[in-house]
Symmetry: C2
Subunit: 215 residues, 2 copies
Amino acid sequence: MKISVVKNIMEANQRIADENRQRFSRNRLLVINLMSSPGAGKTSLLEKTILSLKDELRVGVVEGDIQSTYDAERIGRTGAPVVQINTGGACHLDSNMIQEALKDFDIAPLNLLFIENVGNLVCPAEFNLGEDFKAMILSVAEGDDKPLKYPLMFHESRVLLINKIDLLPFCECNPDLIEERARNINPDLTIFRLSCRTGEGLDRWTGWLKEQIKQ
Amino acid sequence: MKISVVKNIMEANQRIADENRQRFSRNRLLVINLMSSPGAGKTSLLEKTILSLKDELRVGVVEGDIQSTYDAERIGRTGAPVVQINTGGACHLDSNMIQEALKDFDIAPLNLLFIENVGNLVCPAEFNLGEDFKAMILSVAEGDDKPLKYPLMFHESRVLLINKIDLLPFCECNPDLIEERARNINPDLTIFRLSCRTGEGLDRWTGWLKEQIKQ
C-alpha cells in the first residue's frame, strides 16, 4: 500500500517531467538542475556564471527555496530573468512545481535555464524535473567523505563542481579523494574544481558550458 | 487523501517517539538529536565532545546515515558505544528506526546519548525521535543566510552550534547576523560558537552540556 503511493507520486512526477522536457526541447533550451547541500555555493556559482556569459548567452534561472526570495533577488541583480518557487516546507523541487513556475515565464529568448534546487544532498536527486542533466556542487568544507554517504546524488549527476577550493589549506579535505570516490559511483562524471570567491577554475566550467548549448 | 496519509505517518512517529522518551526517562538518560547539513561537523563535534568528557560521563551514540558505517567507525575509535542506522535512502531518522536500533543496545550505563541524524537541514526537523532536545550545527562556510531559508530547523532546535569559526576570515559570513536571524525565529536558542578543528569554544559547550545531565 505504502509502496504503491510512492510509485504513483514518482510516475506522476515523471509524466510531467516528460512534458517539461518536450517544451524545453522545442525551444532548444539547455536546462540544468543544480543541486547541493545548503551553502555549498549554488547561487554564487549562478551569479558568477551569468555575469561571465552575459555577452554570449541568454541565461534564465528558476530558484527553489522552502521560503524567502533572497536568492531570486541575488540573481535578479545580475540582470537575468528569474522566477522563485517557494516549496513551503518541501525539501525538493518536483516537475509540477517547474511546470507551474514556467507558465508565465518566457523561455523563448533563452539558451540556458538553471533550476536551482532546494539545498539538500538527498531528496532532490530522486525527482526528474525535465532537465537535460543534473549538476551538483560539493564544497570542500563539507569534507571528502560525502560520496560514501550520499551516493545517489553523485550517481544521478552528470557534473560535479568541487567548490571553495580556496579553503583547502584550512580544511581536512583531499579533493583527489572526492574525485576517486565520486568516480567509483559514477565513472562518467565531468568534474570541475573551482572557487566562486576567487574565480579560480571558473573559466574551465563556463567554457565547457558553452559547448553544451543547443544550436 | 494525501494529507491524511502524512498525518498518519506523523501520528505513528509521535506515538513511538513517546515510547522512546519514556524508556530514556526511566534510565535518566539525556538524549540529544543532532542535526545539520552534510559536512557541517556533526561527527567531529561528537568525537571532540566524547574525548573531552570521557572521564566524567558515559556517552553513547546512534549514527544515522543513508549508507556506510564510516561515521560509526570514527565514533568507535573514541571508545564510546555506538550503533549505526542505515536508512537505505531515507533522508531523515524516524522514531521507529531509533527504537529498532536500541533494542540490543544497552543504554543503562549511559548518562548521555547523541543521535546523529542524516545530514540534511530540512527533513530531520519534522520528526521527533523521543529526544530531550534537538541541537543543530551550522558551519560558517554555509553562509549567514541559512536561518532565512531553512527556518524550521532553527525553530525546532534548542541549541545552535556555529562551527568552523576558524574559517571566518576566509568566508563571507557574519556570525552576528546568523545569531540575529536565528533568534528572530527562535528567541530561546542557546548558541555556541566553536571550531572542532582548533578546539576554540569547545569548553563552553561541554561545560553547558554537563549541567544538562540528569541526576
